[in-house]
Amino acid sequence: SQTIHQWPATLVQPVGSPLSLECTVEGTSNPNLYWYRQAAGRGLQLLFYSVGIGQISSEVPQNLSASRPQDRQFILSSKKLLLSDSGFYLCAWSVRYGYTFGSGTRLTVV
């Protein structure tokens, strides 16, 4: 079966520290992969998507970057976190017409 793993579930990081969130998918090949952020009261915002290894499209200019080193691995990074980076980060994958979301990472920047 197809599953998506996202970790960690929660993270508290100081301002200026680096960030690495990882997402892996099992049971599918060549999925489209996505990173969304959910800020309080603002719904979900698409940050990055990838249609293949090394192919990253950014939707919103920001303090974050994404990488796809393997077909089923998607990483969200930052060199120096800002307070405004706090939020709930969701990874998702799609193959053709279906989207499946991970369980999310709650990031609090202090």
Binding site: Q6, N32, Y34, Y36, G41, R42, G43, L44, Q45, L46, Y49, V51, S57, E59, L90, A92, S94, V95, R96, Y97, G98, Y99, T100, F101, G102, S103, G104, R106
Partner: protein
């Protein structure tokens, strides 16, 4: 640019009563429409989706949604809500290929009164 509007930020419904959550979209091509539910601190679970065909779509947990092209709407309904339906509900629109991701509304917070 595509957009999704969920005009109701909060809705309160009594347990056992009917429910309708509104969703309006703006999309240049044929829309692919989705409803997701999110429990507190959790990821998103797909309730139902519309791609083509019958405009009344059945989903999980007794939910259904109706696509009305003339009104650019995709409202979610349930004839009788249960306390476990209390959650955040998101409407989303995407394209056929699914490559560019989904555009979400800001969500509707559903509160169930006993």
């Amino acid at each position: 640019a595509q957009s999704v509007t969920q005009p109701d930020i909060h809705i309160t419904v009594s347990e056992g009563a009917s429910l309708e959550l509104r969703c309006n979209y703006s999309y240049g091509a044929t829309p692919y429409l989705f409803w997701y539910v999110q429990s507190p601190g959790q990821g998103l679970q797909l309730l139902l989706k519309y791609f083509s065909g019958d405009t009344l779509v059945q989903g999980i947990k007794g939910f259904e949604a109706e696509f009305k092209r003339s009104q650019s709407s995709f409202n979610l309904r349930k004839p009788s809500v249960h306390w476990s339906d209390a959650a955040e509900y998101f409407c989303a629109v995407g394209d056929k290929r699914g490559a560019d991701g989904l555009t979400f509304g800001k969500g509707t917070h559903l509160i169930i009164q006993p």
